[in-house]
Symmetry: C2
Subunit: 150 residues, 2 copies
């Protein structure tokens, strides 16, 4: 696949939609495009978080270890970002991301990711919106679960 | 209190620590400094989110409505930001923030807040780190609660 095509695929990701083509080509050039067959992991809970992933095609699932076994906590659709929490928090991976179908993903290194957010504040605002919305959702699920328990 | 003093107080907030003094004075000038007596609310769950709050002194608590009554979900320490989720998500307030002691807070309007994040990418990265860390914490609490239930 040519860089031009990868840049076009990146443009479909909402938070990249307003970035100029030349910059998206640079991002594609600085990142690795990988294919993951169904069932393989993009990253494992507990590993050092050294990259984020943009899902270009296919679907992934997010699992967390629990005493009762692995629990699925989220679905990841094409054109979304996953794996950014460990980069931002400088912690180990908080979850395992596994390909549910064949997945084509761009692996963006921590350095490239942080430079991107710092060079393009709109990407930062878009990422913050995504994180805030997931936090609101998770908090709501937690309070519902806890209040049902009582 | 003089703007210079408010700017000094803002510098104690980790995500503002690297912003130059003149910009912090502008931020203090563009925002309202309010005192909330213990027990009063800075914002109410369900209201339109039109501002974020920097806690300059005192302690606040975050409550969420549940069928079993209001549930406390977080403590807010001095020098931290609260109320930014509704601004970022363009949704109603997801929680009520109440002063636990007397609280002195800077009320930053949505417009000023978004301009700040866009002018200073480092603030954006700092905010993302905070959101990502809260998300990791809440997800972990949720999976622990759900796996104990099973």
């Amino acid at each position: 696949m040519f860089l031009r095509d990868e840049a076009e695929m990146l443009r479909r990701v909402p938070i990249f939609s307003k970035i100029e083509a030349a910059k998206l080509k640079l991002l594609a050039f600085a990142s690795d495009r990988n294919i993951y067959t169904a069932g393989t992991a993009l990253c494992h809970q507990g590993d050092r978080g050294d990259a984020a992933f943009v899902i270009l095609s296919g679907n992934a699932e997010v699992y967390v270890h629990t005493p009762a076994g692995d629990m699925k906590v989220a679905d990841v659709q094409p054109n979304s970002i996953v794996g950014e929490i460990a980069i931002l928090c400088d912690t180990a991976r908080t979850a395992t991301v596994r390909a549910a179908t064949e997945v084509e993903a761009l692996r963006i290194s921590k350095e490239t990711f942080l430079k991107l957010v710092s060079d393009f504040p709109n990407i930062g605002v878009g990422m913050m919106r995504g994180l805030a919305s997931r936090l609101a959702q998770t908090t709501s699920e937690l309070t519902t679960t806890l209040s049902t328990e009582r």
